[in-house]
């Protein structure tokens, strides 16, 4: 089998699995899970084979849109160091989460539908990874949006889940609108109908019009970045990600932590050469990421939902990646953090899922407590993920996050301090979660009777705990990133790494002493609990502006179009008809008389009226 065939099979196997489940094996739970996991394992083998063989190149498929010279969009697969690394991340984590889902979803309705959704997601995600041009990426980008919508809304009977699914899709549409405009701008800049192109290779060379006009380039890049802001939940479009936690936990783990939300960062890495050629755009990107990292970190400290904390920490970490993309000298920097984050954040969500299942679907951390003895495997694996996320030395997150912070020290001192504060918040809110959930005394009946999850769930946890610890070690860094670009340690003074260690220990210690043996949260800040009131602000905007406009439209429709135009004309005709009805005497001679009078009148007019 040649590499091209492997690449195509890797992409399409999950789609085949999804279709088979939907059309053939929907009724059978084991068959649905088996098919999806089999397809995921095939993609794993395919992904690793393509990575190991350094199968770089463009694999031509077919011309999806072909209007000759004017517009042609090929459906090709692009394999290069970047997409191969991303391929490994996606295809390695997916089967682990799928296997975990068997245990997590065992008792749930819509089991087969859930697995079909996962398979559709895997197909779409692989499409994003392997896309060779912006249009193809955009299509798969929307497809992951659709599968995210399906999976968040898995419990669609629950109003909050249905609303969260809608919100996720609609908020993403806002970002995608900018993304689409950016794609068109790049197409026009590369020649438009005279040989314009969408391929990454072509758009990454600045077109002449961009060279003459750097402001236009910045606009184009920022428009593409809008897609990232939506998909990777950057401020101000971050609101959908915490709400997406309404979906089943494996979905939160795979889509809304490890892979799908990282697609925005992957997009930035894809267009990295053109992004870094525009300093203005890079600065906007870096600041957006830094503000998101800090804001989400602050919000995470006051959440009570075990998944809500992780959701905000995901947003915060995505902020780091975006900052990295804005400041780095090569795409390897954000990708490195994406790589390590994918493993430990996926792990953290899966442990959260294990806790939720052990607690009989209780998600409030203040109802938990003392779980470390009852769920030892979950607790130990959670510690791996939590230390990796907090940036503890010798855990993967430490390597990638410190690299981004060191890079920001080198390039922009303001951003540096913002991300360092955010880095201090990370161990604080993670330690708070750990203390409340796993230590102390049980705070409810469920937590007293909590039990460890079955093997089908704990084995994936152990499998993910390994990369969560080691994924940042130089061996992996070299294997996966030296081909993407340089990832050298920036030149920083000796005190900078000490600052990193200092904020880590400070955050950890503060949370430890604050949350040791407490029954209630000692700190209550309504402003943070209510998420800076941003959700309320958006709700208000939707209600007042969009609602007001809808009322105006409704008024126009009801009174002007329906009332005057439609019903008014009908009433006019009816009234005239009613009046004329009285002429119908039912007497033929009367009709003859009217006719005669009419003829006489006509003759009179012909003769006398000029």
């Amino acid at each position: 089998m040649n590499l091209s065939t492997i690449a195509w099979i890797t992409l399409f196997v999950p789609l085949v699995a999804a279709a088979l489940i939907l059309f053939v094996t929907r009724a059978s739970k084991p068959l649905a899970a088996g098919l999806v996991i089999l397809s995921a394992l095939i993609t794993t083998i395919g992904g690793w084979t393509l990575f190991a063989k350094s199968a770089d190149g463009i694999y031509h498929g077919f011309n999806w849109v072909d209007f000759g010279h004017a517009l042609s969009i090929p459906f090709d697969l692009a394999l290069d160091p970047l997409s191969r690394t991303m391929l490994v991340v996606v295809t390695t984590i997916s089967p682990v989460v799928f296997i975990y889902s068997i245990g997590y979803m065992k008792e749930e309705v819509g089991f087969a539908r859930f697995f079909a959704g996962l398979a559709l997601f895997l197909f779409s995600m692989l499409g994003i990874v392997l896309a060779n041009n912006l249009v193809m990426m955009f299509i798969f980008w929307e497809l992951v949006g659709v599968s995210s919508y399906i999976l968040i809304g898995h419990y669609y009977q629950k109003a909050s889940a249905a609303d969260a699914a809608k919100q996720a899709f609609l908020v993403n549409r806002i970002g995608d609108f900018g993304f689409m405009l950016g794609i068109l701008l790049f197409w026009i800049a590369t020649g438009g109908p005279e040989g314009g192109t969408f391929t990454f290779a072509a758009i990454n060379h600045p077109a002449p019009i961009f060279v003459q006009n750097p402001a236009l380039l910045a606009v184009a890049v920022v428009l593409i970045f809008c897609g990232t802001v939506g998909k990777s939940a950057q401020f101000p479009l971050h609101v959908w990600l915490p709400n997406s936690m309404e979906g089943p936990t494996p979905v939160s783990s795979l889509l809304h932590a490890a892979t799908m939300v990282a697609a925005g960062v992957y997009l930035l890495a894809r267009i990295f050469p053109i992004l870094s050629s525009s300093p203005e755009a890079s600065e906007i990107v870096a600041w957006t990421g830094a503000i998101t990292a800090l804001g989400a970190g602050i919000l995470a400290t006051q959440q009570d939902d075990i998944k809500g904390i992780l959701a905000y920490s995901t947003i915060s970490q995505l902020g780091y990646m975006v900052t990295g993309a804005g400041l780095a000298v090569s795409a390897a920097l954000p990708m490195f953090h994406l790589f390590t984050h994918a493993f430990f954040k996926c792990l953290l969500f899966l442990t959260a899922g294990s806790v939720i299942l052990g607690m009989h679907h209780e998600q409030n951390i203040w109802k938990m407590g003392g779980l470390k003895g009852k769920m030892p495997i979950t607790f130990l694996t959670y510690c791996c993920g939590m230390l990796a996320l907090s940036g503890c030395p010798f855990f993967s997150g430490h390597y990638s996050k410190d690299l981004i912070m060191a890079c920001s020290w080198e390039h922009h001192r303001g951003i540096f301090w913002v991300v360092v504060i955010a880095a201090g918040l990370t161990p604080f809110y993670m330690m708070r979660q750990a203390m409340v959930v796993f230590f102390g005394k049980p705070r409810s009946e469920h937590s007293e009777h909590a039990h460890e999850s079955p093997l089908v769930m704990t084995i994936p946890l152990i499998l993910l705990a390994i990369p969560a610890v080691v994924a940042g070690y130089p061996f992996f860094e070299h294997t996966f990133f030296h081909e993407i670009g340089t990832l050298s340690e920036p030149e920083v003074p000796a005190y900078v790494p000490q600052v990193f260690l200092g904020v880590f220990l400070a955050g950890l210690a503060l949370a430890f002493f604050l949350y040791r043996n407490v029954e209630k949260d000692p700190i209550r800040i309504p402003f943070l609990e209510n998420r800076f009131y941003i959700d309320d602000l958006y709700f208000w905007i939707v209600r007042v502006i969009q609602g007001g406009f809808a009322k105006l439209c409704s008024f126009t429709d009801r009174w002007f179009i329906d009332g005057i135009l439609v019903r008014g004309s009908a009433t006019l005709v009816w009234t005239v008809g009613f009046a004329l009805r009285f002429l119908q005497l039912g007497n033929i001679q009367a009709y003859a008389l009217f006719f005669g009078i009419g003829v006489v009148g006509l003759i009179y007019m012909l003769l006398h009226v000029r």
Partner: protein
């Protein structure tokens, strides 16, 4: 030799008679006859105008030929009209117009 005016007076009398019949009689067959009378009054004036009117100083027979057409078409029309009256009678057992007022509001 009668003049054009004599013919037109005769035609007008005929037309007025026909109109009076149409307006005043109750039987639909009689009304129909009145209609035919009016038609023939019009025919008469057409022929009279043709006989007394010269085109470029010459006699023109176009209208007199046209009247033959009108008479033959009128014969066909009478056949249709009578057929309608017959089927009307079969449906309603009456030929009096005051009984036929179902379109009245």
């Amino acid at each position: 030799m009668p003049t054009l005016a004599n013919y037109l007076i005769a035609s007008g009398l005929l037309f007025a008679t026909g109109l009076g019949v149409v307006m005043l009689r109750r039987s639909i067959i009689v009304i129909f006859m009145g209609l035919e009378l009016m038609l023939n009054a019009a025919n008469l004036s057409l022929v009279a105008f043709s006989r007394y009117g010269l085109v470029s100083g010459h006699q023109n027979y176009d209208a007199q030929i046209l009247v033959f057409f009108i008479i033959s078409v009128a014969a066909a029309e009478v056949a249709v009209g009578l057929a309608i009256i017959v089927s009307l009678y079969r449906a309603r057992q009456t030929t009096h117009v005051e009984d036929l007022d179902s379109l009245k509001f």
